[in-house]
Subunit: 208 residues, 3 copies
């Protein structure tokens, strides 16, 4: 009888890890798409599928959260994590969608670089989330979080450099409007990864 | 004596419903204004009054929330609902204000269509909030929430279509900047309506 | 032995006050920079130091929050306050960074006026936070909050006026894009100051 009431902790960990994996998959696909320099309906469809699968995991987590009394760590931290992982995936989808809506073609070197940093950051997010299963061994989790913070700073510098160049060299204002939106989106993905790192770190502190 | 300590539940429902009604009124007025194709000081004043009345209800809800110990559903869900209803009304006000500040004149067919979708969505928001009084009968509430999600998807497609056309056909960059802001605001109203639907659905699950 | 378990309340007050002081310092430096009409690497570096010091206080507050069981007022209110004070400082940093990235030179009268209002608002924020030490004497705190709300309205009007003029008089679309971003950032600082006032007021109500 006792086991009947044991919290199914593993479920939350498993679901959060799966959601984080969709963020990694979305980032990997973004890198692929920007390296090709053109976004067609098929790319957007594929990206939409990844986003949709991520969504379903998020819904499962929130449904379980609403029904479960005992959770492996604080309810609002689980909620924040799943919300932020969802935001990461949504923002990557937004970039791909915007590339198509704005009809941006040609490989943009800066965006390819941004996509590589985003892929790295989502990898660290997945590691950090995975590390929560064993919150007593804080070292690997902390290292992932420090790396995410570093990558977010890298993204800030990249954004500043690329915007400064854009306003200096690009003479077509419509092109400036379009690319500025894209680069700001790219940097926003890294901001949200940093939000994930902050939540993960505060979970560690509470369980120290 | 016992009744003295009974939570005045009806008050929260009544106040949230009233706030949702101001969102509907704001949306209806937005539709009226964009169909006329020009925003003058009088229109903005009228919109400001609706927004102000909504504000007062929001303040009443938060004041009561801070003083009440027992609430009909979770404190943070009531707070989230009133904050989001406030955001819906504020964003509709922002659209009307922007039309005036940007001196946009002439009926924009796409904006008229957006306003119609926004009006529909706020109607569903009002139904969903009303349905919370009887949270055991989940069917009508769930139907309203599904409809809100559908309308948010419609809004996404409308925004993508209208932005693609804008960048393709409009040669004046200042006009692009202005209209892009307006259409993004319009879509944001629908995003916030979807946030309301999400909170309402999670309230239903908790009371299932 | 008893004293060992007494909550170190003064610490939270002291830390929040210190963080608010960094917001005031950031605002004062912003005013200085925009009055000079040019942002160089040195200015940005100095602004970055203020932001970094504010960050360290924020981390100290959150670390203590995660380790402390009894807090002088609700945990989520302390969290919200420190997050919003951090946002105020970040947004002021963003303005200075943007002035440099966009290579904006020359004293903009409207931005100088905005900076003065921002400095006033952060001063009121610091007073409101200081007043929390003695939450029973609500009058000075309430007066600071009312003044913050007034300044936020002033900021809304300033933003509308300056954007209307910008779209009417500035013929270079790139200049419009740049200045529009700067003025929206400036107004956003005041919005966040208003968020602080809202949290402070709700703390007062809970302790009435």
């Amino acid at each position: 009888m006792f086991f009947k009431f044991l919290p199914k902790d593993f479920n939350f960990f498993e679901l959060l890890e799966r959601q984080a994996e969709y963020a990694v998959e979305a980032a990997r696909y973004l890198k692929e798409v920007v390296a090709q320099g053109v976004v067609d309906e098929g790319h957007l469809q594929k990206m939409h599928e990844i986003e949709h699968q991520g969504d379903e995991v998020a819904h499962a987590i929130i449904a379980q959260l609403n029904k479960t009394f005992i959770t492996p760590f604080e309810r609002e931290d689980i909620y924040a994590l799943t919300k932020q992982l969802d935001d990461v995936i949504d923002m990557i989808y937004t970039i791909v969608n915007r590339l198509k809506v704005y009809k941006i073609t040609g490989v943009k070197k800066e965006l390819v670089e941004f996509a590589a940093v985003i892929e790295e950051a989502t990898g660290c997010v997945a590691s950090a989330v995975k590390g929560l299963r064993n919150a007593k061994d804080t070292k690997p989790v902390t290292e992932s979080c420090i790396e995410i913070n570093r990558l977010e700073n890298v993204g800030d510098s990249m954004r500043d450099k690329v915007l400064a160049e854009l306003f200096e060299k690009e003479k077509d204002p419509l092109q400036v409007i379009k690319l500025k939106d894209i680069y700001l989106d790219a940097e926003t993905v890294l901001d949200i990864c940093e939000d994930v790192a902050n939540v993960v770190e505060s979970i560690l502190v509470k369980h120290a």
